[in-house]
Symmetry: C2
Subunit: 236 residues, 2 copies
Amino acid sequence: MTLKTLGAQAAAALDRELMGSGAFSIDQLMELAGLSVSQAVYRVHPPRLGLNILVACGPGNNGGDGLVAARHLFHYGYKPSIYYPKRSNNELYQRLAKQLEDLDVPFVDDFPAALKSTHHIVDAVFGFSFSGEVREPFPAVIRALEETKLPVTSVDAPSSWNIDEGPPKSGLGSNFQPAVLVSLTAPKPLARFFKGRHFVGGRFVSPKIARQYDLDLPQYEGIDQVVEVDHNGQKL
Amino acid sequence: MTLKTLGAQAAAALDRELMGSGAFSIDQLMELAGLSVSQAVYRVHPPRLGLNILVACGPGNNGGDGLVAARHLFHYGYKPSIYYPKRSNNELYQRLAKQLEDLDVPFVDDFPAALKSTHHIVDAVFGFSFSGEVREPFPAVIRALEETKLPVTSVDAPSSWNIDEGPPKSGLGSNFQPAVLVSLTAPKPLARFFKGRHFVGGRFVSPKIARQYDLDLPQYEGIDQVVEVDHNGQKL
């Protein structure tokens, strides 16, 4: 029994297929992805452990998942704050940010400074489409994530890790090992290098798509949008 | 202490505001509304009570909420089937229907016949924008909902009821009293005439909007997307 994973190219193909023949909109998928992340955070870091959650959002879809998760966390009673230094012109991300502004959720400029007053961190910087190098201003964020003693929940990938090959062999990100990983749709190959608590989320994959991509659909409980799995991908 | 409600006109204004200055897309709101409905169904009719759920969908947004709820119910392990006789050309509803077809969820043509093999019914025929008369082919559906002994969960409104004034005084719908009502965003005035189990859902209303429309934000538990309330709108 080994962990079934979805490589970077297959993950991109599955995403295109969900939004193509699968007829999902990105709004829908991002809402459900962010909801999954928020439920995993609630599980590993319930409100009694501290309400302040710092959500680091990258410029792409991973950052969008983080924005959605932050909104749900607000409604659960947390006090999220958002680090979102590279806002794109993408209309969807702008709307997700506006939804947070309407809740008076603060957007912070200095990530290392913001770390000092938070209880938990959500790493929504880079996701399954990441490759190559970490561009400014994110190297300082990755360094802070490597050095912090606070628990970090990474969305789909510990940011800076290669999706198929795992953590960098040396340098930036090579010592980053978050406490929690939420794999959306299916674990990526990098999950084999991950040592913390692992959740799978994204309860919208059809049995057909799972067969087509040779995925194990996780055994969700009840109405949960995430399930915690062991290192073989089996439900804990 | 009396139930605070949102009249038909105010509900329409709030909806426009969420999608205007609130920057929500209808995809997002419908996903969260349908998710709320699915969670209420799970609460009142857990899988051990029978897996077959018949979802009656009207031609508008209420029907769209039903389509989303049916998809989540499928993923919870139920066997939904859909009665959706008046499909519109609306691109969103077409996509929501396609998502169900990809799960091999059956669409049925004969509502009274389909009732014979179901365990629970979701009434997503008409919502807060309903007024006037019940058009074909829905009178037979309302009659069947009045007569059935099966539990019915109505989405936002028992279909055929006047949003502000409640059940028709006589004729079609006057004897329709569903077992469960899921009020989305806030209870409508018709909820004062409702005698069953009442849930409020739609956990996306900001405190600002709640103040502006003089709504009580319901006291949701944990990560729940619905909360059961008493006849005063207080959490049970």
